[in-house]
Symmetry: C2
Subunit: 258 residues, 2 copies
């Protein structure tokens, strides 16, 4: 902008516009122009142009003064999902195992210091639905998915990621000391699975296992359930199920080049 000459191969106005699109998330599903400007750190006029461009392109809609995403953004994700054959190679596997385990199964990866949900089984069970969907972000430090993902990284890298993101506190049981969390991560790396209990939602236990092969971008599968009467037995059963699911995904090479 001012001092350093920007890379001439990068379009700064495009990048700013993308930032506008990306600012819409679960916490702020619909915002006013001024709010967008604040959250993107852009000048109001700039944010306005970005937003209006998005409206014209059909990705944003304007209700009075509120702006919100339109369903068309799904088409962007659709390109990715179809390219990787998620509908054929990933979703059916998740569904099958989910049904067998009678619990929702989630596939996830790292994204900007958070856990990005890639896919989720859509099986009708009696239990609670948490309302997360593909494309949702959940925290890294206090979920089994997050810790298992960190475990897929080299140790220093995991520490770096964790340090960058900061550690919120969701429940009274959330670990707050980075070292303690890294301890659990290391444990997960050795064991080949990860359990967390009540650190993100009270009373809920999370289970996760790796899917990607060592060295690849970490991908994990997991599930979560209210803590039951026999935690041991539950854990064994669910982890076994997740391992089977992960093995099948690995074998199908369904998630190799993400």
């Amino acid at each position: 902008m001012t001092a350093v000459e920007q890379d001439r191969n990068i379009s700064s106005s495009f990048a700013k516009g993308l930032a506008v699109l990306a600012v819409f998330d679960a916490a702020a599903p619909s915002m006013t122009l001024a709010e967008i400007a604040r959250r993107t750190g852009q000048d109001r006029a700039t944010a306005r142009r970005g937003a209006l461009t998005l409206v014209q392109a059909g990705y944003l809609r304007q209700d009075g003064r509120m702006l919100s995403l339109t369903p068309r953004v799904l088409a962007l994700a659709g390109g990715f999902l179809q390219a990787n054959q998620f509908g054929r190679r990933v979703q059916p596997v998740l569904n099958r195992h989910a049904r067998q385990m009678e619990i929702e199964v989630t596939l996830a990866m790292l994204d900007q210091g958070r856990v990005l949900l890639l896919a989720q089984s859509t099986v009708d069970h009696g239990h609670i639905t948490y309302g997360f969907t593909a494309g949702s972000h959940i925290p890294l430090a206090h979920t089994s998915l997050g810790r298992m993902l960190l475990a897929g990284l080299p140790e220093e890298e995991a520490a770096a990621v964790l340090a960058e993101t900061g550690i919120p506190c969701h429940t009274s049981q959330s670990l707050t000391d980075p070292a303690a969390i890294l301890e659990r991560v290391a444990q997960a790396r050795e064991q080949g699975y990860c359990l967390t209990d009540s650190e993100f939602e009270a009373g809920i236990t999370g289970y996760a296992v790796p899917v990607s092969r060592p060295g690849q971008t970490p991908i994990v599968a997991g599930c979560s359930a209210p803590r039951g009467r026999q935690p041991q037995a539950d854990a064994e059963r669910l982890l076994r199920g997740l391992q089977l699911c992960a093995a099948e995904l690995r074998q199908a090479e369904a998630v190799d080049h993400l």
Copy 2:
């Protein structure tokens, strides 16, 4: 650009960049720079800057000379899905009815002359999986979803949309005369449901019913299955199931402001 003065509130370089992101679809999951330039109608240098910006932002990845979408694009869709509580209000309903009907149920809307799939249940049945996911596009003219969507539009508007998009031909049974298709659309409007047989995939029958209330943006639910022994009975059963599903979605106001 040249003749008309562009609206000063629209950022043209941002719009061009978005076009780059949007060219990636099922038909072209990974492309070379030159191909992107061709398909977007942009100068190669322009397309290149757009693509590189997307790479820097993490939405595109570069493998050698091929560019492809990264999972991060899912996060964009995630914002929409969470904002509209799809995970809580839509998906469970679809899943439940799908399980009861023992068939996949799809929710869809219009998008640029095509059918945009918004959500899809996936029961774990023995049948084929078509591999479509939320965010996929399917044709308008020869699917029950598409015709039912057209039926949700005023008659002239439906005709206009249909005229704009052109009419491909997928199977020997595909109707090719716009008037004949509009005939079926009108029929669907009157009946409140739509059936198609073998017009998109040979031997497959499609079923669709409206979900949105009249006057709103059309949203429909549908399913498809190989033609069975008792087409009549199948149709009755499936349409009844879809109607129930649609009614429940309507009542939950799950899709009111899309």
